[in-house]
């Protein structure tokens, strides 16, 4: 049995390995599909839905859908671009995202998607939810105001750090990331060297005392849109 399949993305043929998801195949081929909860090396989550494409006409998340021989994928269409933009705007109004004082600004993937999509302002009313900040840990800050519930910290802690420091509690709009033991991060075995801290795409999990070190203009997304590395065929 062949280990390679051919699929098309927006009309261009690419070769993919059997067992790859659409997003993995696209990344390897230098085609960027916008995403937030997907992170190479982690189990697919399929929660943010930003990577939604159509495969043979049906919408699916590119991070969970395996490639199939001859699959026809639509990615960069006007409709999907609009949908994704709407989705990213919804994330901005769902939480409390104060970019102007956030340590992650310039390196934040949510913000970078906003830039790439040319979002000047979300078109929905801001919800201003009441959320907690947990500064109990000596080296790590948890700011739920910025959390987009992508589960990258949960999966990284479980599968990379082997700790399972985090999990979700609550449901719907009340869903949030909670800590393994009790309520405070300080009471857990989380350490600043955990990969989970780095895994956060936004400023919800931060290392203390190292913020704002990169000057404005030299930060990751100041000049290069998110996804450029993939489009340029660089390792990410």
């Amino acid at each position: 049995m062949s280990t390679q399949v051919t699929i098309t993305i927006d009309g261009a043929e690419i070769t993919a390995a059997v067992g790859q998801t659409i997003i993995e195949a696209a990344d390897a081929a230098g085609v960027y599909i916008p995403r937030l909860c997907h992170k190479p090396g982690l189990d697919a989550f399929g929660g943010c839905r930003v990577c939604t494409v159509t495969a043979n006409g049906r919408p699916c998340s590119a991070c969970t859908q395996p490639v199939m021989p001859g699959m026809i994928v639509q990615n960069d269409t006007e409709k999907l671009r609009d949908f994704r933009k709407t989705l990213v705007e919804m994330m901005f109004v769902e939480g409390n995202h104060f970019c102007m004082f956030c340590e992650k600004s310039g390196g934040c993937e949510l913000q970078a998607l906003g830039y790439r999509m040319g979002i000047d302002v979300p078109r929905f009313p801001f919800l201003f939810p009441k959320r907690d900040v947990d500064a109990s840990h000596p080296d790590i800050l948890v700011d739920h105001n910025r959390c987009i519930l992508c589960a990258r910290c949960i999966r990284t802690s479980r599968d990379v750090d082997g700790k399972q420091v985090f999990d979700f509690v609550g449901r719907g709009a009340h869903k949030r990331v909670a800590v393994r033991t009790g309520t405070r991060l300080a009471d857990s075995d989380a350490e600043v060297s955990d990969a989970a801290v780095e895994a956060c795409p936004v400023g919800a999990l931060l290392k203390k005392r190292v913020g704002y070190t990169t000057p404005i203009g030299a930060r990751r997304y100041d000049h290069e849109p998110i996804g450029s590395d993939i489009e340029n065929g660089e390792e990410n």
Binding site: F168, V169, G170, R171, G172
Partner: protein
């Protein structure tokens, strides 16, 4: 103090350990453990969470995660009696507000609170499957129906006297509602003559027939009858079984989805009350057909009052050789069924969420692929079928595919059970052939003057009189069974808002479109109702609804915008007020007076200040 606390903790510790042990310390039975702890201690406390986590070898947060997901589990201690008032659109139409007001007044508490003596908790809950006898409530597991202010007052008085919800039931409904193990005031309200599903029970004919065939022949018969899933989506049942049968895996599983949570649906209640043998026979036949020995009936928490009765039916079937090892004397055929109780989560009606719940986790839907037929319950190939679908299977075996498919249309064969509620004189369950028009349905239930009908519950669509000649079937007006009728004078936008509130409450929160979209849509519709919307707002939330349909991860989010989208299409007049634009370019959604209310209240002591309406320093 320490000396007093210590023995208590030890008691809790050993009791919780005992509960865990009764489920073999199996972490996949966490939901059952949590339910049992909740029942015993009226909450799953910090201490209990610690013990459970320790015994089942789970991180503490995993236990918290599960407890926080289900509406019927609680971290805070609840009253000895919990009154869960069904807060559904239909109940609201029949006096929910008045009943709620009486409960609040008599108990002296708000929704979500417990009386100071720790005795009674007042909660609101989504549809409990009693829309034909609304307003209704669950008092612990006891169903009380047709509430009104007087009855609510009496209930509080009686509960204060004896604290025994069972004693609130004075007369029993007909049939098995009066069974010793049910003793419920629930009425069946079967409104049509039996056709197929509501016909007399034949306890073993179907299984005998199935066992006389080879499994593939059973599947062939189901396909010949063109049976499609009755939950709403209409996936061909035979095909689902074929996939499950063909999947790799030693152990396979049949799950019966008895989590009918779509507001306005209550037809499975009748099947479970009066025809449980038909349901269990269907599961057994499914097991034989796909090669499964394990069956699970996932029973929604709201139907807990049927549990003891259903367990008894299962036991009798085991005794009669219809379940267990060597069914009907065939050594090669084994199948047994356990009942998995839910704990209050609409999303668990979605088949992959239901599987998550059976596995003892949060009821989050799973990513697909893999589909349950390949990788379902605990990774085993699994067929999840609706209660009604399985009853159809039993009838197909009993009477043959041809007899079954003589009813209905080519694409939608057989009959359909409809749960009809709302503004009609004969609410209840109707068995009608697929293809029946909505007009015929409305005539039968005596709702000819309906200005609108919600077909398929909140996740379905709202249609008006110009659609009444359409047919109930998979290819036209599809429904899992819910039909709600709205008579002249009803505020349809209030209905839409109620449906959206339901989705907002029930979204699992896993994916962004549903988690955020349900909140924003509800907010937008309430602005429409307050006459504060502009054309642009409508455009935006229509766009968001379309996005949610395409990008949500499961059926809940994909259908949650339907109340808005279907009324925008079928009842555009409801949104006519949104055509207004302020000539000065002021946003109509911004209400200056309302947004000054808090400041005015704070400045309240100074009347001179309060009159200084507009303006400021010039």
């Amino acid at each position: 103090m320490r000396a007093e606390i210590h023995p208590m903790s030890t008691l809790l510790d050993s009791a919780v350990r005992k509960i865990c042990k009764s489920f073999d310390n199996d972490p996949t039975r966490l939901l059952d453990v949590a339910r049992a702890v909740q029942e015993k201690y009226r909450c799953v406390s910090d201490e209990a969470v610690d013990v459970i986590a320790q015994v089942l070898h789970l991180p503490r947060v995993t236990v918290e995660s599960l407890v926080s997901f289900y509406a019927f589990l609680s971290r805070e201690k609840q009253g000895r009696v919990i009154i869960r008032l069904c807060d559904d659109v239909i109940d609201r139409m029949h006096g929910y507000d008045r009943v709620l007001a009486v409960f609040r007044e008599e108990l002296g508490i708000e929704v979500g609170e417990t009386t100071s003596d720790g005795n009674i908790t007042l909660e609101r809950t989504a549809c409990i499957g009693m829309s034909d006898q609304a307003p209704a409530a669950l008092i612990n597991d006891v169903v009380v129906t047709r509430l009104n202010s007087d009855r609510a007052r009496e209930i509080v008085r009686e509960l204060r006297e004896h604290m025994d919800p069972n004693r609130l039931v004075r007369t029993y409904g007909r049939g098995n509602n009066a069974h010793d193990l049910v003793r419920s005031m629930v009425h069946n309200n079967i409104q049509t003559e039996p056709l197929v599903l509501l016909s007399a029970i034949n306890r073993c004919g179907a299984i005998r027939k199935a066992l006389s065939l080879r499994p593939v022949e059973v599947i062939r018969a189901v396909k010949a009858a063109r049976l499609r899933g009755r939950g709403g989506a209409g996936f061909p049942c035979g095909m689902k079984w074929e996939f499950t049968r063909a999947a790799d895996g030693e152990q396979k599983v049949v799950i019966c989805n008895a989590d009918e949570g779509e507001p306005g649906t209550f037809k499975d209640r009748i099947l479970l009350t009066e025809y449980p043998d038909r349901v269990f026979a269907g599961m057994t036949i499914a097991g034989y057909a796909i090669g499964a020995q394990e069956g699970i009936l996932y029973l929604r928490a709201e139907y807990a009052y049927l549990r003891a009765f259903l367990e008894d039916v299962l036991q009798k079937r085991r005794e009669d050789g219809l379940l267990g090892d060597g069914i009907l004397g065939r050594d090669d055929v084994s199948f047994d069924i356990r009942i998995q109780m839910g704990a209050g989560a609409y999303v668990c009606g979605e088949e992959t969420a239901l599987i998550s719940s059976c596995e003892g986790t949060r009821g989050d839907p799973k990513n697909r692929p893999p589909f349950p037929a390949q990788h379902g319950y605990l990774g085993r190939p699994t067929s999840v079928n609706n209660v009604e679908t399985l009853c159809c299977v039993t009838k197909i075996m009993e009477e043959g595919a041809a007899a079954f498919s003589q009813y209905g249309t080519k694409q939608s064969s057989g009959t359909k059970l409809l749960s009809i509620s709302g503004d009609c004189r004969r609410p209840g369950v109707y068995e009608l052939p697929f293809g029946t028009t909505l007009r015929e349905v409305l005539a039968l239930c005596d709702a000819d003057d309906a200005i609108a009908v919600q077909v398929g519950g909140p996740s379905g669509q709202m249609v008006g009189p110009e659609h009444y000649d359409r047919q109930i079937c998979f290819d036209d007006l599809a429904t899992g069974g819910s039909i709600m009728t709205f008579g002249p004078g009803r505020d349809l936008l209030e209905v839409v808002s109620g449906f959206l509130e339901f989705f907002e409450d029930e979204s699992c929160g896993y994916c962004t479109p549903c988690r955020v979209g349900t909140v924003l849509l509800k907010e937008a519709v309430d602005r429409v109702r307050a006459d504060l919307c502009e054309p642009l707002d409508i455009e935006r939330f229509e766009e968001m609804g379309t996005m949610m349909k395409a990008m949500s991860r499961c059926g809940l989010g994909q259908t949650a915008p339907n109340p808005v989208l279907s009324t925008l299409e079928n009842f555009p007049a409801l949104y006519a007020g949104c055509n207004k634009v302020d000539s000065d370019g002021y946003r109509r959604s911004f209400d200056l007076e309302a947004s000054l209310s808090e400041a005015r209240a704070i400045r309240g002591g100074h009347p001179e200040a309060a009159t200084n309406g507009k303006g400021g320093p010039q």
